[in-house]
Amino acid sequence: MRFHKKTLLFVISLLVLLSVQTFADLKEINNIVIVTATGLDLKSNGKIEATVQLLLPQIAPINGQENVQNKSTVISGSGITISEAINNIERKCSRQLFRGHNRAIIISEKLAKNHMNDVIDYLMRFREYRERTFLFVTDRSISSILQYSPFLEQNSGDLLMKYSKKNGNLSATLLNVATQNVKPSKPYIIPIITTYSSNNNVQEKLLSISRSAIFVNNKMVGTMSHDLSYGPQILNNTFWQTVYSVTLNKSKIGLNIQNVKTKLKPMIRNGHWIITARVSGQGIIFEDSTSQDLLDQKTQRKIEYLVEKKMELTIKKSVILSQNLKSDVFNFYTIFYRKYPLECLQVKSSWNDIFAHIEVIINTKFQITHVGINQQ
C-alpha cells in the first residue's frame, strides 16, 4: 500500500507539472464574441475578403429590465486564402471569434463564379462551422447584406436561417453542397439573396431570396427563378408548401399545395436515358373568388387538373433550364447508378452531356383534401 501511494504521488506530481498547459483551451465567455454570419467576397486585386457579423453583448441593466435589443456589427479583413482573411479580422478584434453559432454563410457572386471549391473546402475543414449552416449567394455587396437589420429578427443571420425553413424556399446546407461536390460534374444549387426597396418606403430595404444559382464544376453557370426552383425541390423531395393560383371559369382559386412526394424510376432503353417521375400531392383550397360548389366532383377534378398541369410545367421548365446549363441538380446520376451501375460508370466523365439529353416524363397526381368549411 505504501509503495502504491508513492508511485501515485509521483505520477500525479508529474501531471501537475504538465498541467500548466491545461488553461490553453479555456475560452472564458467574456473573451469570445459570437459570430452570427460570415460573408466571403473576392476583391478586384484577387484577394479574398471575409466579413463577419458579430453579436455585441449588451450589459444587463441593474434593475432587471428585459427587452434589450442586441446590436450587431460588421468587421472585414482580407487575405490570399480565406483563413488568412479571417486571421486578419481576428487581429482587429479584442476578443476571440467564436463561430460555433454561425447561422449563414454568404458568398458573393464574384467569388461564386470561380472559387467555390476553396469555399467549400475551408468550411468543411474548419471544425467550428456546423454542417447545417445555410449557404447563400448574393449579387449585392456583402456588407449591405450583413449590416441589414431586419424588423423581426435580431440580425440578418437569424433572418436568413429562418427564411430557409419556411414556405418552400430552396435551401442548401453545407452538407448538401459538400455531398454534391463529390458527384460527377459537381452540381449544386444555392439560393441568391438580394435587397430591394419596399413599396411603402423607398428608403427601407427588404431582404429576400429572389433567384437560385446553379453550379457546375464549382463554377456558377446560371440562375433559376424562384418559381422554377420548386422543380428541384419537388424532385428531391424537399418541398414543403406553397400557394398556387389557378383560374377556372373566370374565378380565381388559391390553393395551398403540400405533402408533395416524388417517385423516380430510371430506365435505359436502346441508349436512351429516360426518367419517369411520379409526383403526388395534396392541397387545401384557401380562396375562391366566385361562389361555386366546390364539393362537386367535377369542379374538383377540373381544379386538380389545372394544378397538375401547372406543376408539370414548372418541373419541366426547371429540367429544361438545368439541362441547358448542363447541371444535374436533380441528382439523376445517383438514381441511375443505383439501377444501372456499370453503364453509369462508363459515362461518368461525360455525365454533363448525357444529362442534357435525358428524357424526363412527369406524371402528376393531385388531390384536394379540404375545401374549407364555407359552403354555398
Binding site: E131, R132, V182
Partner: protein
C-alpha cells in the same frame, strides 16, 4: 497473480462489446468505405465470422483447460522455451496495439475538441485512471463495464434515432456492382476488430460459469456487436452518402448534423464524453492483459509496480512515436492491421491447432 478474480460471462462479454464498438466507430468507416464504398454494411456482416471463430476457440480452451492461465496453455502446447518466446512476442505486439489505441483516442480529441490541450495530459489522464482500475483488479473493471454499457447503447441508438429523418436508406444500394472482391477485402479490415474477442482467452481462467454458457452468450454478443456497428454504418451512409470517403471521421461528421426539434442540436460534445467512457474500458482491459503478460515474462507478482512501470513506458512511447494524424493513418493503421492479425488471429489459431492436434493424438 496471487489473487483469484471471479467474473461472470456477461461481464466479460460486456467489456468486449464496449471496447470493440467504441474504437470501431471511430476508425472503421473511413478505410472500409475506401475499399467497399456503399457496400461496407455487407462487409461488417461478413466480418462477424471472425468473432464467431474467436468465441469458438475460447470455448474450446475453456472446456479443456478450465483453470489454466493462458500462458500455461502455451507452455503445454509448445513447450517452455518456445512458449516463453511466444509470450514475449505477444507482449510486444500488444504494446504496439496499446500505443495505437492511445494515439488514436488522443488525436481524435485534439483534432475535434481540444485543439490546444497538450497530448501528454490527455494520454496521461487516461493511463492514470486505467492504472487505478488495473490495480483494483479485474472484477472492478468488469463492474465498471457493466455500469457503462448503457451509455454505449445510448451512443448507438441515440445517433441512429436522432438522424433518422435525414438518413436516406437508398444510399446503401447498389450492392456488389464491382463484384464480390471489394467487400470481402474490406471485411478483412473489420475482422481485425472482431479478432479482439480472442483476448477472452486471457480471462478464461476467471470465468465462474460453464463453457457452454460462454459459447452461447458469446455468439449472442458477437451478433449484438455486429448490429451496433451496422447501425453506425447505415447512419453514416445514409447521411453522408458518397462523401464518407472524404472525411477521416465519418461518424463524427454525421453526428454534427443532428438537429431535432429546436434544441437537440450541437450534441457532439455529449457523445464525445460518452465515447471516452468506452475508450477507458478498452485501455483498462488491455492494460490488464499487458500487466499479466509482463508479469509472466518477468516471473514477477506485484501488479502495482508492474502496471505503473508499464504506464510510464507507454506514456513516453506514445508521445515519441506516431506524432501526427497523417502518420496514424498512413503508417500506424496498416501496421496495426498486420500486428493484430499476427497476434490475435495467427498466434491463437496456431496454438488452437497444436492443442487440437495434441488432444487428438492424446499426447496432452
Amino acid at each position: 497473480m496471487n489473487r483469484k478474480e471471479i467474473i461472470s460471462v456477461n461481464q466479460l462479454l460486456t467489456i468486449f462489446y464496449i471496447s470493440i464498438v467504441s474504437t470501431g466507430l471511430i476508425t472503421l468507416p473511413h478505410p472500409m468505405y475506401l475499399k467497399a464504398q456503399q457496400n461496407m454494411w455487407i462487409s461488417i456482416i461478413m466480418s462477424s465470422t471472425m468473432g464467431f471463430l474467436a468465441v469458438f476457440i475460447c470455448y474450446f480452451f475453456k472446456k479443456n483447460f478450465p483453470d489454466k492461465n493462458f500462458n500455461q496453455i502455451i507452455y503445454l502446447a509448445v513447450g517452455n522455451r518456445i512458449g516463453y518466446l511466444i509470450n514475449c512476442i505477444i507482449f510486444i505486439l500488444y504494446s504496439f496495439d496499446m500505443i495505437y489505441f492511445l494515439k488514436e483516442y488522443e488525436l481524435y480529441l485534439t483534432d475535434l475538441f481540444y485543439q490546444f490541450m497538450s497530448p501528454s495530459l490527455i494520454i496521461g489522464l487516461m493511463l492514470l485512471v486505467s492504472m487505478y482500475a488495473v490495480v483494483s483488479g479485474l472484477e472492478v473493471i468488469a463492474r465498471c463495464a457493466q455500469i457503462i454499457w448503457p451509455t454505449t447503447i445510448i451512443l448507438t441508438l441515440g445517433i441512429f434515432v436522432l438522424l433518422l429523418p435525414d438518413i436516406d436508406f437508398k444510399n446503401m444500394f447498389p450492392i456488389f456492382e464491382y463484384g464480390f472482391g471489394q467487400p470481402i477485402k474490406a471485411s478483412f479490415i473489420a475482422m481485425a476488430w472482431f479478432s479482439e474477442l480472442f483476448w477472452m482467452i486471457f480471462f478464461v481462467q476467471d470465468i465462474s460459469e460453464s463453457a457452454k454458457k460462454l459459447k452461447v452468450m458469446g455468439f449472442i454478443y458477437v451478433f449484438i456487436i455486429m448490429i451496433s456497428l451496422f447501425l453506425f454504418f447505415i447512419t453514416v451512409l445514409g447521411v453522408l452518402g458518397n462523401y464518407t470517403g472524404h472525411t477521416l471521421y465519418p461518424v463524427s461528421l454525421a453526428e454534427r448534423y443532428i438537429q431535432m426539434g429546436t434544441f437537440i442540436e450541437r450534441t457532439s460534445v455529449f457523445f464525445m464524453a460518452i465515447w471516452v467512457l468506452g475508450v477507458f474500458i478498452k485501455i483498462a482491459s488491455l492494460l490488464f492483459i499487458l500487466t499479466r503478460c509482463f508479469c509472466e515474462v518477468l516471473h514477477a507478482s506485484s501488479i502495482g509496480l508492474i502496471s505503473s512501470v508499464l504506464c510510464v513506458v507507454y506514456f513516453i512511447l506514445s508521445l515519441i512515436l506516431i506524432k501526427s494524424t497523417s502518420s496514424l493513418f498512413q503508417v500506424g493503421f496498416p501496421l496495426f492491421l498486420i500486428v493484430t492479425y499476427v497476434a490475435n488471429f495467427g498466434i491463437f489459431t496456431m496454438i488452437f491447432c497444436i492443442t487440437l492436434f495434441k488432444k487428438r493424438t492424446k499426447i496432452v
